[in-house]
């Protein structure tokens, strides 16, 4: 009984705190969820509470961060980046609140599908866990190329992978030699804010500035608020039409099984796969919103749960990033890199507990964040667009980048973010190599390149 109370209590705290944090655009998961989860672990909260806190936090943050993504056109975090273009088009059609509602309804639906499926897949994968670990570098490399091919940049994006990966490898070994430890958040931040950093550099050069100049303020039209459900609690199955429910569920099932891919990349891939099957422009966009946001949700969950349940080792982008403290938070949770011995949530919770507390966390996060975002989306959109200037947001971002980089690795980390951001942003702008491709490039650099070198 006591673990359940911890799960409910900590889940509630995680959901409320992160629903608020999610409203601040650009609060990267790794950058905010990981340190605060670490805080919870170090404060001595029991395993059930830690797990539920984490899951409720990522899910409710994920629901509310869709608000800046869809209503302002600024990524709520790196996972939201692939939804920006579609959200922007719906915003220009005058229906940003529909983009939001489709996105978060897809997310909620996927979350409920992903928890039991991820536990099931983890249970099925446990016997072959070691083989998966060994194949991971090659899976990453293949996925990176596949994702580059499906991007707008196509062959340019594939070709640009090589210099980009080399750049990451170079910077990574330089900072590791200098600092004595590798950086990761700074690379993520650089990739995520690349378009912003590139624009700021362009604005500083006379030639570049010409390409950015505008004659007047931008016009936005907000369509009338439409409520498509009755009663207090909106039903995601009513907000999405039948086709959208089917596609979103399908994508959730597939993405729950593929836990070694970058969530951003999976999001891009699933969105494109489904987008290609829907013809009508409006229906295509709204379906992609639901599927993409649903996919980020299911990959979040699967990439956290599968390594936790099956391996105890942080063998997924999510587990290596935001969920890292669930695996390794010395002195409370530990992973011995040499022997592979673990003492973390993998050892402290049973498979059934992961399932039960996982569902508790999803339910709490949904109850807290979903009705809030659904009912207040239009009001929030209108208020934010009239009162919050883009300058203020960019200014906060500049501060955020500096603070997080200084936290991770001092001045050197700041320079890493600026370098990766400038190169990545220009590759994005000029060659259509979007951030999803760049994230895969990052993982190829840290996983595939060492594996290739080891082959001799």
């Amino acid at each position: 009984m006591e673990p359940l109370l911890w799960a409910i209590g900590m889940g509630l705290i995680g959901a409320v705190v992160f629903a608020a944090i999610g409203l601040v655009s650009g609060t990267d998961e790794t950058a905010v969820v990981a340190p605060i989860t670490l805080l919870v672990v170090l404060l001595g909260v029991p395993a059930a509470g830690v797990f539920s806190f984490f899951l409720a936090a990522v899910i409710s943050k994920h629901i509310t961060h869709a608000i800046p993504t869809t209503l302002l056109g600024i990524p709520g975090d790196t996972m939201a980046a692939p939804m920006l273009a579609d959200a922007q088009q719906l915003r220009e059609l005058g229906v940003p609140h529909i983009a939001l509602r489709k996105a978060i309804s897809g997310g909620v639906l996927s979350a409920f599908i992903a928890v039991p499926l991820a536990v099931l897949f983890a249970w099925m994968l446990s016997p072959v866990a070691d083989e998966i670990g060994q194949a991971a570098p090659w899976i990453f490399a293949g996925a990176a190329i596949l994702i580059a091919l499906t991007s707008k940049g196509r062959w340019a994006a594939v070709a640009a992978m090589f210099p980009f990966v080399l750049l990451i490898v170079g910077i990574n070994s330089f900072v590791t030699a200098e600092l004595g430890h590798a950086l990761s958040i700074s690379f993520f931040l650089g990739i995520a804010t690349g378009p912003l950093i590139a624009d700021l550099f362009l604005a500083m050069s006379p030639a570049g500035r010409k390409s950015l100049e505008r004659s007047g303020p931008r016009e936005f039209a907000l369509a009338p608020d439409v409520r498509t459900w009755a009663g207090r609690m909106p039903n995601p199955l009513k907000v999405l039409d039948r086709k959208q429910v089917a596609y979103t569920s399908g994508a959730a099932v597939v993405s729950s099984a593929t836990f070694v891919f970058s969530p951003v990349a999976m999001t891009v891939l699933m969105g494109e796969a489904v987008g290609a099957r829907v013809k009508n422009g409006y229906h295509k966009l709204t379906t992609k919103m639901a599927v993409r946001n649903g996919t980020t949700e299911s990959t979040y969950i699967a990439e956290t749960l599968i390594p936790l349940v099956a391996l105890g080792l942080p063998l997924s982008p999510m587990a290596a990033g935001p969920a890292a403290p669930l695996f390794n938070a010395p002195p409370v949770y530990t992973v011995n890199a040499e022997t592979g011995a673990t003492n973390n949530l993998h050892n402290l919770l049973s498979t059934w507990e992961f399932l039960a507390f996982g569902l508790v966390a999803v339910t709490i996060a949904t109850l807290v964040a979903y009705p809030f975002a659904m009912t207040n989306a239009h009001r929030a959109a209108s208020w934010v667009m009239r009162n919050v200037s883009h300058e203020a947001i960019i200014g906060a971002f500049a501060g955020l980048i500096l603070v997080i980089c200084l936290y991770e690795g001092g001045i050197l980390a700041v320079l890493v973010t600026v370098t990766v951001g400038l190169v990545g942003g220009l590759l994005n702008r000029m060659f259509g190599m979007h951030s999803g491709v760049q994230f895969m490039g990052y993982y190829a650099a840290v996983l595939t390149v060492p594996a290739m070198i080891a082959l001799g």
């Binding site: 601040v24 340190p35 605060i36 670490l38 805080l39 170090l42 056109g73 600024i74 273009a85 088009q89 220009e92 059609l93 005058g94 229906v95 529909i98 378009p195 912003l196 700021l200 604005a203 500035r209 100049e213 505008r214 004659s215 007047g216 303020p217 931008r218 016009e219 936005f220 039209a221 369509a223 009338p224 439409v226 498509t228 039409d241 086709k243 009508n280 422009g281 409006y282 229906h283 295509k284 966009l285 209108s382 009239r386 009162n387 919050v388 200037s389 883009h390 300058e391 203020a392 947001i393 960019i394 200014g395 906060a396 971002f397 501060g399 500096l402 603070v403 997080i404 200084l406 936290y407």
Partner: protein
């Protein structure tokens, strides 16, 4: 010369932008660094001290954003009514250029059609469909054909 430029998807004033960035960096960085110094000296667990400093730094970013938002108003014109015909036409063209087809909305499911009607978009999409019909094409194509 206009001071308005487009950065990261929205219009900003260059002077206001520089000031906001200075505010963000100028408030958040010292807060974080001083906070870290303070917590490292007072909190025994050094990892925990780092986390506290990070939280403080994030709060400072919010303060900076609040000040900048009070000082600089948005460079957007927000119309509450339905989208203007002009911006919609551009949006429709952009969606089509991105691979969206303007098929007949009558082919969509009942639910999707209801949704479009409630949003006042149904007739807009019917028109988009008619415009996109082969044969109706753009003026140039028609001339070439005749």
């Amino acid at each position: 010369m206009s001071r308005l430029i487009e950065v990261w998807g929205d219009t900003v004033d260059t002077k206001h932008l520089s000031a906001s960035i200075a505010l963000g960096a100028g408030i958040a960085t010292p807060t974080f660094l001083l906070g870290r110094k303070f917590f490292r000296a007072t909190v025994e667990d050094q990892t925990l001290a780092q986390s506290y400093a990070l939280l403080l730094g994030l709060a400072a970013c919010l303060v900076a954003a609040f000040i900048a938002a009070r000082l600089f108003k948005p460079k957007r014109i927000v119309t509450q009514s339905a989208a203007t015909a002009e911006s919609r036409r551009e949006a429709l063209a952009a969606i089509a250029a991105d691979g969206g087809e303007w098929t007949d909305p009558a082919d969509l499911s009942v639910e999707a059609r209801d949704e479009l009607r409630q949003l006042g978009l149904y007739d807009v999409l019917v028109q988009a469909h008619l415009d996109a019909e082969p044969g109706a094409g753009t003026g140039d194509q028609q001339e070439a054909r005749s």
